[in-house]
Amino acid sequence: MSSNNQTSFITKYIFSTDHKVIAKQFMVMGTFFLFFGGAMAMLIRWQLAYPEQKVPWWLLGFIFENDGGIITPDIYNQLFTMHGTIMIFWAITPLLIGTFGNFLIPLQIGTHDMAFPKLNMLSFWTMFLASLVLLSSYILPNGAASGGWTSYPPLSSPSGGIPGLGQTIWTLALILMGVSTMMGAINYISTVVRLRARGMDYFKMPLSIWGLFLASILNSVFVPVIAAGLILLLLDQTIGTEFFLAGRLASGDPGDPLLFQHVFWIFGHPEVYILILPVWGIVSDLLSVFSRKPAYGYKVTAIAMSTVVALSSLVWGHHMYTTGMSPLLGKSFMFLTLLISIPSSMFFLNWLGTLWRGSLHFDTPMLFSIGVIWVFGIGGLTGLYNATVTADIYLHDTMFVVGHFHYTLAASVMLGSFAAIYYWFPCMFGIKLDSMLGKIHFWGSFISLNYVFFNMMAVGYAGQHRRIYNPSEYSFLKHLSGINEWITIFSFILGAFQALFLINIIWSLFKNEKSEKNPWHATTLEWTVEYPIPHGNFIHEPIVFNGPHEYSRPDILDRDWLGQDEKEDDFKHG
């Protein structure tokens, strides 16, 4: 398999079917959109801190020249809509699932490539097409979508009052993105199920693979659900069907706006688990590597993650408590949502168990992993408020929810993605990223993001509701202008620290100091091959003898680790 004629530039770098190249393509795309979405966040924060004041030059103020330099309400709505959409589907999904799913799965399970390499390539280019469609909405006269990333009809339908085609283009872009994701999911699952190397049982796979595998299962089951909903929405938006229109806006038989919400959240809730599962897996592995200790309760963690996956399909109603659902339904959703605490607490405790009695090395990936423990702890615990029907009556659609999901989604995923990038950079590019810059990047990001998202929860606790252009309009929110300003300032600091990340990458690539093989002394299979990893990965299919976390075994002398494909007798010296 390593003798493949991928010689021309086009087949090697553009239309490559090599999972490692596709991974890097997703990484570039994801990083681009991460910064694009991040810039939008800065603009949203500007408006919330300094309502209707001229946007400064360093925040690209020139974009708003037509409106006297300020952000207008319709642009503001576009900003938070596209920020959410882009961060979820165009930043996190490509960065975690596209990049690390693609890069890690074949390498860590010990095979040559994905099950369907051509499908893999198609998946990337479909995503690329989806990106073009989405970005094209910016050049429309009425701009991009502005109905929120949840795009509830009737607002998101033509009779909802949003002018222009932005909303329709949004729907189309998302359908394409869904197709890309489905292709990826089928590929990842098939690869894990069918191509594991000899000896690589399910419970010998690294937990990163568990996370990516479970995320792909959710993807393959639930993305078609949202695809169906989006097809119906697209028809409502284009040819005049009224599936989701009711009341006065429906000219014929009334449809059901809540039907869209159900379809959306039946996908939407598993989606948030899709986004976090890779992080759960990666953090479990990295904590083990940098504690030089097996991941505590590996099997329990894997099963707990699977339980959460199963439960996640039953809890979508907790996003809809205030829609007037029947009491019994509300109570059932609350109960099922709360049940998720049990497996979540268990694998969270296992993270702590890994650190306990370990030998902790605070390299950059470890700092980010511990950071994930912190932010996911806060994020997960604050979910309890939103799960409670009564508390949610008050907290629904406030900044509290925004703070909660930014902790679980943005903070955890961001820190997790950085942990992964810093960790696997030597494997992907043969170079270790600078450690000092990495640590400064961590501390700057960690401190500022905690300030930003914690205080978002605080202002939400005080009642500030979501998606509003100017909170100071309301007397019950007037006292929050100071804290809103500080949130903004720290969000700018957070943004600025990401520049360090880019600088680190560019500078390290420029310095080009080759990293040693397996710089972290890790046991998993991706470190057994030298950079540059050839097409086909392994010359001979590896045979796996050990689990993925054989660190500090007392019977292994000279080394504190035993690779998955190494025979323990070779290291015991009789």
Partner: protein
């Protein structure tokens, strides 16, 4: 445990918790229930997160890599380990989840879904539109859809103090959400549906009404004012508005309020029987 619960219950207004911001002043009859469950959650998760932070700090210090110090090779997969982890998981579940669930179910049953009936219940129909709040009062005959219905100026809602107010919500166009921060009230107004809610005010004053579901470019300025007043003041306000109603008929053509996107003069619906 019970005494701790009661302690928090009595101090809920004072306990602004770990969020460093206070909940808005609550002037409703049942809002305290929500504040209580929030306060309890505040307390318990502070304790648990505090323990996690303490453990992290301890581990980071105690187990940092140093010469000669080897990690303990422990997979944590023996039965006792699993039982401890499982036990702790269940502990979290029963100390937090089960408690807040019990509190919430009780509150829903006793208050929020326990709609008041009787003579002194004031019924109001609320119909948000892009971007204003419309209210309809049944008038002296206490029936909606009749000539004496009172439709006051947009965004101005008045209710009498210490009286149960039952509201039916519908929407003129897209989905909105009726949000009364000082009463811990929030309910979506979905077109094609009528959603009920109820509350009771304990104090007079003027309070904010906001829209809590994105409804377009003017979502942020869908501000209303809820005036809670004595029964006498409320009655005189009603009388004023019923008089104004007939007078303003003459001024129909002059009324160019651009918020009034076609909402007809005498909108209302037949009051849906509550189940």
């Amino acid at each position: 445990m019970k005494t701790l619960y009661n302690k928090i219950k009595s101090k809920h207004i004072l306990y602004s918790g770990i969020w460093f911001q206070d909940l808005p002043k609550d002037v409703s009859l049942d809002g305290y229930r929500i504040d209580n469950v929030i306060s309890y959650t505040d307390l318990i998760i502070s304790i648990y997160f505090g323990i996690v932070v303490a453990l992290l700090a301890y581990f980071i210090y105690q187990y940092r890599a140093s010469k000669g110090h080897k990690a303990t090779y422990d997979h944590g997969d023996k039965r006792k380990n699993v039982l401890v982890t499982g036990g702790l998981g269940l502990l979290v579940f029963f100390s937090v989840d089960a408690v807040i669930e019990t509190m919430a179910f009780k509150d829903l049953r006793e208050a929020f879904w326990n709609f008041p009936k009787g003579e002194n219940v004031v019924r109001i129909e609320v119909m948000p539109q892009q971007y204003a709040w419309n209210f309809c009062y049944p008038g002296p005959d206490n029936e909606f859809g009749t000539d004496d219905d009172i439709i006051p100026t947009q965004n101005q809602m008045h209710v009498p103090v210490n009286t149960p107010i039952v509201i039916q919500l519908a929407s003129w166009d897209v989905i909105h959400s009726f949000y009364l921060p000082n009463f811990r009230v929030k309910q979506d107004a979905v077109p094609g549906m009528i959603t009920p809610l109820w509350f009771q005010a304990k104090e007079t004053g003027v309070y904010d009404i906001a829209c809590a579901e994105l409804c377009g470019n003017g979502h942020y300025r869908m501000k209303g004012y809820l005036t809670v007043e004595t029964k006498e003041d409320y009655q005189s306000w009603l009388n004023e508005n019923s008089v104004q109603e007939t007078e303003s008929d003459e001024w129909d053509d002059w009324d160019d309020d651009d918020d009034d996107s076609g909402v007809p003069e005498n909108w209302s619906w037949v009051w849906e029987a509550l189940k």
